[in-house]
Amino acid sequence: MAILVVAEHDNKALKGATLNTVAAAKAIGGDIAVLVAGAGCAAVAEAAAKVAGVSKVLVADNAAYANQLAENMGTLVAEVGKGYSHVLAPATTSGKNFMPRVAALLDVAQISEIIAVESADTFKRPIYAGNVIATVKSADAIKVITVRTTGFDAVAAEGGSAAVEAVSGPADAGLSSFVGEELAKSDRPELTSAKIVVSGGRGMQNGDNFEMLYKVADKLGAAVGASRAAVDAGFVPNDMQVGQTGKIVAPDLYIAVGISGAIQHLAGMKDSKVIVAINKDEDAPIFQVADYGLVADLFEAVPALEKLL
């Protein structure tokens, strides 16, 4: 079997999600090639060549792929993917954007957000916001798959020495163009790759109070997240949302502060190794999944926690 993994990157660096996706490819088993599509992305291709288990890196370096617009990516990946039995991409907002186009162009189903590989054609994926795990089997000649990165431990970023090969792809389809991007700037680690995540919910009462969480996070080297309730209430921007419709995280330690534990939030964090809940309502559902629960007023507990760290 030959597996194509589409790399996640920003033209400068290879993103960690790619390493989890390669791990899923390894679980399927076969020859693994990584496609780096971008503009001025030679450094990314070099990094991809070093990833353990990768045998070939294909680079499509063209202005048409600079911002990975779905229209151009879809055509390119479908074209390159024809020679493979499996085409994988991480289930990030980028992968989710172009991969269904790849599947449609190849006239095959897409298998979204797999969390486990049962065999080369059978996979597990969460449905109903993670309340049910479905096992699905595909009889399509090419399996187009997005990978939930928290389901697979990342492979080593070093240790490989794959050959790098240039590929040409279709030119810019001219259907869409990139206007701009507003990315949250932060010195803290990214939510999806952080070892520790501190999240706040509606109990935080306002955006200013998140300052307390930032202080704790900075002492722990943690990322800061939020529940949908906190995002909808306007406390913090939506890119901090952890949950079924936000980011899926699985850090070593997840500290939920003032979060009741709605199903949709649990779906985004319940695979964390250790969960701590701080909430003044002792009946909050979050305590049912927490390894350590502290029933307390967060406005007293969080500053006290910060002092002890």
Binding site: Y128, N238, L305
Partner: protein, 249 residues
């Protein structure tokens, strides 16, 4: 500009579903059904475009069994002008739905198609993108703002780490994210009026679409249970446990 909105009938988001005892599927007997929340946002966006004078007509389409006419009527009560029901009892996968929608878009010559980014049952997040690819259209997925600007569409998208803005040539496909708008409630007079709005029924055969899929469901199961841990008495005890028992800090 004619706007087409695709909607899906799903289990109400407040219902906690369970796998059937034999693992053959999800137990949907006597469960409350509703319009998929992301589809509701799609309908709202289309109706707002009409209220702004940008859209001339809002056509709502759904594929599935007879019962999904209820959700089409809901969308009509929210302000859509007419409905199309693609009637089939077959289990529809996203690719099949995208093909059906492509046939409807061709027939209707819609300039803009708005869909929810995903349905809360299958959580696939595929149909809009597949439709765009099949129709050779641009796409603006996970939209939090949509502005029609002459022959182009400016879409602000929710991406990992922030927001991205793209400009799309029309016709185009947009899929909605949660923060695009807050859907209205249907008023009683509008619910009554919706009953009289036109609703056409077509079949996949009539649209020339084969809805078979090569993806089969082997089984469903509940997710691994996470056991509740212990309650600690103080912040000091918590820090001690994290350091010495869990060893995570």
């Amino acid at each position: 500009m004619k706007v087409l909105v695709a909607v899906k009938r799903v289990v109400d988001y407040n219902v906690k579903v369970r796998p059937k005892a034999d693992g053959s599927g999800v137990d949907l007997a006597n469960v409350k059904m509703a319009l998929n929340p992301f589809c509701e946002i799609a309908v709202e966006e289309a109706v707002r475009l009409k209220e702004k004078g940008v859209a001339t007509e809002v056509v709502v389409v759904s594929a599935g069994g007879k019962a999904c006419q209820e959700q089409i009527r809901t969308a009509l009560a929210l302000g859509a002008d007419r409905g199309i029901h693609v009637e089939t009892e077959a289990e529809l996968q996203p690719l099949a739905v995208a093909k059906l929608l492509k046939a409807v878009v061709d027939k209707e010559q819609a300039q803009l198609v708005i869909l929810g980014k995903q349905s809360i049952d299958g959580d696939n997040n595929q149909t809009g993108q597949m439709l765009a690819a099949l129709a050779g259209m641009a796409q603006g997925t996970f939209a939090s703002e949509v502005v029609v600007d002459g022959g182009n569409l400016k879409v602000t998208r929710e991406i990992d780490g922030g927001l991205q803005t793209v400009s799309l040539k029309l016709p185009a496909v947009v899929t909605t994210d949660l923060r695009l708008n807050e859907p209205r409630y249907a008023s009683l007079p509008n619910i009554m009026k919706a009953k009289k709005k036109p609703l056409d029924v077509v079949t996949p055969d009539a649209l020339g679409v084969n809805v078979e899929s090569k993806l089969t469901l082997v089984k469903v199961e509940p997710p691994a249970e996470r056991k509740a841990g212990i309650k600690v008495e103080s912040v000091e005890q918590l820090v001690d446990k994290l350091k010495n028992e869990a060893k995570v800090i």
